[in-house]
């Protein structure tokens, strides 16, 4: 379980994350939604110890994340950031193999190889596993990064806008993989999404952020409501039930 207690992050005088508290339940998919600059990425980076917070606590299974041993944490929690400007010439397979680094420190065992294979398979990257990353399209690269995180096989998986650059088919595919990771393997997944419909259809819980504050959090059907979305996005969004999914019509 991830407990976020009264976390604040200041840049200058502005609190970009402002006394945020929440509990992220185990084995579920929790989505962060909110407009640009709401503080979603900052919060995710704080939870994954990539940036330091100014106030508050982040407890992962009861342990403060910034005080946890870095090596041990890498087997427990993984993070994929929003922008990954890696200009290192690695093949897809080499990149995915680095997901096993916390376990093998570079000397891959048979188990590691199997995990790498299955991560590549999950992301349908078999045909390009020996291509260099700089020969891939933006979306293919994004899938390779996600495959690396899957190979890392951590209990907690944090993804910042993983659907960036992806076409519809692969967006759906990734959300389905995440669903399976949560339902079958009990992974706890926190994901930042811009498309509220993906959040609506695939997540168990949603946290709506704006100006560094939590506007509302709760089970998906309590958040995907006209009133809540209006408060978050300043938009009047019509919501319809289609095939038991709540779909937001936000194009007009």
């Amino acid at each position: 379980m991830v407990k976020i207690k009264d976390v604040t992050k200041l840049y200058g005088d502005t609190a970009v994350v402002d006394h945020v508290s929440m509990t992220i339940p185990k084995g579920k998919i929790t989505s962060f939604i909110g407009p640009n600059g709401a503080g979603k990425s900052t919060l995710l980076s704080i939870v994954s110890r990539l940036i330091a917070k100014d106030e508050g606590e982040v407890l992962i299974d009861g342990e403060e994340v910034s005080a946890t041993n870095n090596k041990a944490l890498a087997k427990k929690l993984s993070i994929l950031k929003q922008a990954n400007d890696i200009n290192v010439r690695l093949t897809v397979r080499q990149l995915v193999s680095f997901g096993r680094f916390p376990y093998s420190q570079g000397r891959l065992t048979d188990i590691d190889e199997k995990m790498i294979d299955s991560a590549i398979h999950y992301m349908e990257l078999e045909t390009m596993e020996n291509k260099f990353l700089d020969q891939l399209s933006g979306g293919q690269k994004q899938r390779a990064y996600i495959a690396m995180v899957i190979a890392q096989d951590t209990e907690y998986i944090l993804l910042d806008e993983p659907l960036n650059n992806l076409d519809m088919k692969h967006s759906v595919q990734i959300m389905k993989v995440l669903r399976r990771l949560a339902d079958e393997l009990g992974k706890t997944i926190v994901i930042v999404l811009h498309d509220v419909n993906f959040a609506s259809v695939y997540s168990d819980y949603i946290v709506a952020l704006r100006d560094g504050k939590v506007i509302k959090k709760g089970p998906t059907d309590e958040i995907i409501r006209n009133g809540v979305l209006k408060e978050v996005y300043d938009m009047d969004i019509k919501i319809q039930d289609i095939d038991q999914c709540r779909i937001c019509l936000y194009f007009s």
Binding site: K71, A74, I79, K81, D85, V88, L90, F98
Partner: protein, 319 residues
Amino acid sequence: MTVKFKVLIPVLIILSILSIFIGVVPLSFTDIFQLTSQQQQIILVSRIPRLISIILAGVGLSVSGLIMQQLSRNKFVSPTTAGTMDSARLGILVAMMFFHQATPLERMLVAFLFSISGTLIFMKILDKVKFKDPIFIPLVGLMFGNIVGSITTFIAYQNDLIQNMSSWLQGNFALILEGRYELLYISVPLVIVSYIFAHRFTIAGMGEDFAKNLGLNYNLVVNTGLIIVALITSVVILTAGTIPFLGLIIPNIVSMYRGDHLKNSLPFTALLGAVFLLASDIIGRVIIFPYEVAIGVIVGVVGSFIFLYLVMRRSAYES
């Protein structure tokens, strides 16, 4: 890919043999079984030390360049383009001025302290500049190196040490004799450590956040890399002098063919560095025989052309 190893190793062996037989004192292949004592002397005191030092310097400098490019995440950063070499030379000057009786090892330590400080200053500058154009960064490094170099020249001039400094300015293996190159052996364990750290350097090259996510102690890895680079650069400058561009062009060429996973590219970079330096040395020795063109000049000329080519290839690729 394995084909390349099969080619490079025989080439290295052939060049090594050539290197032993080329020189002012004639020595032919048929003499090998009936060497005069003078010939034996030449081989043991001059030719073999020269060969070993070229190989060690070639390996050391290209591996240093590879590590720097990986850690700075910039393909154009190298001991030449980050002030590392210039700082090491300033260190040597300081050692000459203040510690007259310094042993080679002590000189090396002073040179090392200066080169590591210079490199760290450059890395700090790199952190601070917002404009991270891949070509702008090495230009900053070259400017920084030139400033350090000017300070060195100024101090040397004031103290009448210009003559002494010039031997460290231009790489030259002609002066290498038994007893004057052994410091270079320090680079052997350093290259081995680099290979052991290959995975870590590769991960560090993907950035601090990536490294942290994989549980890597980023600062430790970066500092280890920079210490290795500064040590190797110092011993090479102290024994053979400045050899520009090697650490820049060799890793770039290898990266094109073998990618940037150091586990794959490091052995190759090391080997190609040795072959390239050895070939340059042989060219320098035969081109105006019986005189020699200093290797620093040959590598500088060939290297700057390859450097220009790499820069243009990159701009073409980006546009």
